[in-house]
């Protein structure tokens, strides 16, 4: 009898989703889908607002990565004004972006994913969370919370508050850096660096502990897309797009992110509110690509800070002959490499005298009727595309969010894990948790990607060949 298992809601991710697993007559998995069932429609209700308001509005899309929306939105505004912002403003925005990476990556690893690794995929689901982690690994959990707090402190120093700061604007930023806060932030660096190094050491033990599981966690070839600097380095604020295939070959390079619609298409499916972006030259769904830490560390030629660069070389060595790491489980490793880079680079920026300039905003009238802002959000490349009239009133908005760009790959990951672990005879909680953990590798933010409301439970359903619900599990 053909069955479908549904996991709803998916837990420890940002937003609402469910997973359905479809079984064939023999009870083996024939398909699995990651459904995103929340919707907010930011793109629609932003129409009619002033372009100047957009950074403040769109930063409300998400409570986890508001600074990324803020930066992408402000950059779209820069394009519409057709200006180049002052050096100090760019440095400050870069610092904000790195602080965003720090707090978001710390949340992903310490709060959301490490309970699986340190307490076990099959441990009691009631305790398998950050609070269970505190019970068993108090110091590790405390360090993770403080690392996230460090990122939030930087955001608060720059923007006046930890989340939803209206600090970045078209043309630059509103406030200069308060130089009296420099030493306060620098004082965090040794602890932050030590915590990331501890996390890396822990993760390497996790790789050993779960070496039987890891090959089944979204291990497939796909394209990788992300920004790189002019000379191919890891980039987070500007640069051009690079596309790499699963064999490590550069398929396209130095693509102008402003022209993203020329090479990135978006497909819809009736069973999810989350769009399915794809690389146009390969079509849908063959043009599946991954963005975010795994993609960024795969595609870059180097990382500019020493400790992160040393880890990148270890990461690449693990990829073997393919010269690209294709296993989604290693999103965690790439995320920690980026976390290390963020801490190192924040320290560098805090020592950069140009960060403390007073010229922080360029002003101009509306000079273009269209602008694309982009940056690397924690989960991948983020695009804000605005069309305005002569008064700067939004006529149309399109946002291409990182999580959506991983949608095809997340579905493929869920299917692979389900095929390996689900036997169709019974629903074992630990098995379901592995399916969820596959999604957590990508650290999806569904609030962002559907521009939707966000709290995240999980629902799993089992259907027969006629689509009749046979069993379900709700948490």
């Amino acid at each position: 009898m053909v069955k479908t298992i549904t996991i709803e809601p998916v837990t420890r991710i940002e937003g609402h989703a469910k997973i359905t697993i479809h079984l064939d007559e023999q009870g083996t998995v024939s398909d699995a889908r990651f459904h995103v069932n929340e919707f907010r429609g930011f793109e629609k209700f932003c129409e009619g607002r002033l372009m100047w308001e957009m950074p403040g509005i769109t930063s409300r899309i998400c409570g986890i990565c508001p600074a990324s929306h803020l930066i992408a939105s402000a950059k779209a505004g820069d394009e519409i004004l057709s200006i180049r912002i002052p050096e100090t403003a760019e440095k400050l925005r870069r610092l904000m972006t790195l602080a965003q990476w720090t707090q978001s990556h710390a949340l992903s690893f310490f709060h959301l994913s490490s309970p699986d690794f340190l307490l076990g995929f099959d441990s009691d689901p009631v305790k398998r969370n950050v609070f269970g982690l505190i019970g068993e690994h108090k110091e590790f959990a405390r360090r993770g919370i403080r690392l996230r707090k460090f990122g939030q402190e930087v955001i608060e120093v720059l923007g006046g508050r930890k989340i939803h700061t209206p600090w970045a604007v078209a043309g630059g930023v509103r406030e200069a850096f308060d130089a009296t806060k420099k030493e306060h932030l620098l004082a965090w660096i040794p602890e932050a660096r030590e915590t990331v190094l501890l996390a890396l050491e822990t993760l390497k033990k996790i790789h050993e502990r779960y070496k039987a599981d890891i090959p089944n966690f979204g291990n497939f070839r796909s394209l990788f897309v992300g920004l790189v600097s002019e000379d191919g380095g890891l980039e987070y604020y500007d640069g051009t797009l690079r596309v790499m295939d699963g064999g490590g070959n550069i398929v396209a390079d130095k693509l102008d992110p402003r022209l993203y619609q020329h090479f990135l298409g978006e497909q819809s499916e009736p069973w999810s509110y989350l769009k399915f972006p794809y690389y146009r030259p390969l079509g849908y769904p063959k043009g599946m690509y991954r963005v975010g830490p795994l993609a960024r560390v795969n595609i870059c030629d180097y990382i500019e800070t020493p400790l992160a660069e040393a880890e990148r070389k270890c990461f690449k060595a693990m990829a073997g002959d393919a010269d690209a790491m294709n296993n989604s489980f290693y999103y965690h490793y790439a995320r920690l490499i980026e976390l290390l880079f963020s801490v190192e680079k924040i320290e560098q920026l805090l020592h950069d005298p140009s960060l403390f300039g007073s010229h922080i905003r360029a002003k101009a009238m509306i000079n273009r009727d269209e602008g694309v802002g982009f940056c690397e959000a924690p989960r991948g490349t983020l695009f804000h595309h605005y069309w305005v009239n002569e008064n700067g009133v939004l006529q149309k908005v399109n946002m291409l969010i990182a999580t959506a760009q991983n949608n095809l790959a997340m579905n493929r990951t869920v299917r692979q894990i389900a095929m390996h672990y689900v036997d169709g005879q019974s629903i074992a909680e630990g098995m379901l948790n592995r399916v969820e953990a596959g999604i957590r590798c990508f650290d999806p933010c569904l609030s962002c990607s559907t521009h939707a409301l966000g709290q995240m439970p999980l629902h799993l359903q089992l259907f027969d060949v006629k689509g009749i619900l046979l069993d379900e599990c709700v948490r």
Binding site: E14, H111, N129, K162, M456
Partner: protein
């Protein structure tokens, strides 16, 4: 150890949901010596902050409350479920105890009646009236705790 921390939380873009933030903004103006925090949502990071205070007061909007209510939170609080998006005041207090072996001596939660959660940065007139009452309630707690000589002793658990 500091004497008193006032935490207001809510979404200031959803009308009355921002009542706790609006109240704390007024408290910060009226009592400049009292430490105040305004946050969109409670999170684990707050545990470290509150562990360093003797008295913590939370202010939040409430659809159930008909009048401003001041409720003492019994301490210590045991650990319950907590989420990065939905943390409760007792949850954060429990976390402070677990992570830092420290807890305030006194904790209160003040609920401010709220009715409109539509998009908007202003609270409804009725909620604005309740916000004023909540500020008065906090004023009484400040008189009671922030100036009391008995509050100079540290309190540490475990």
């Amino acid at each position: 150890m500091n004497r008193m921390l006032i935490i207001g939380y809510g979404n200031s873009l959803r009308a009355d949901d921002g009542a706790g933030i609006a109240a704390v903004r007024r408290i910060a103006e009226r009592y400049p010596g009292v430490h105040c925090k305004m946050v969109h949502q409670l999170g684990p990071e707050l545990a470290e902050d509150i562990a360093d205070y003797k008295t913590v007061v939370f202010l939040d909007a409430s659809v159930e409350a008909k009048e401003v209510t001041v409720n003492r939170i019994p301490l210590p609080v045991s650990m319950g479920p907590m989420h990065t998006h939905i943390a409760t005041a007792p949850g954060v207090l429990a976390l402070a105890g677990r992570l830092y072996d420290a807890s305030p001596l006194n904790a209160y939660i003040i609920h401010i009646p709220a009715s409109s959660f539509e998009f908007g940065e202003s609270c409804t007139p009725e909620t604005i009236r309740h916000i004023e009452h909540s500020v008065e309630s906090v004023g009484r707690l400040i008189d009671q705790y922030a100036g009391s000589p008995s509050m100079t002793k540290h309190h540490r658990q475990g």
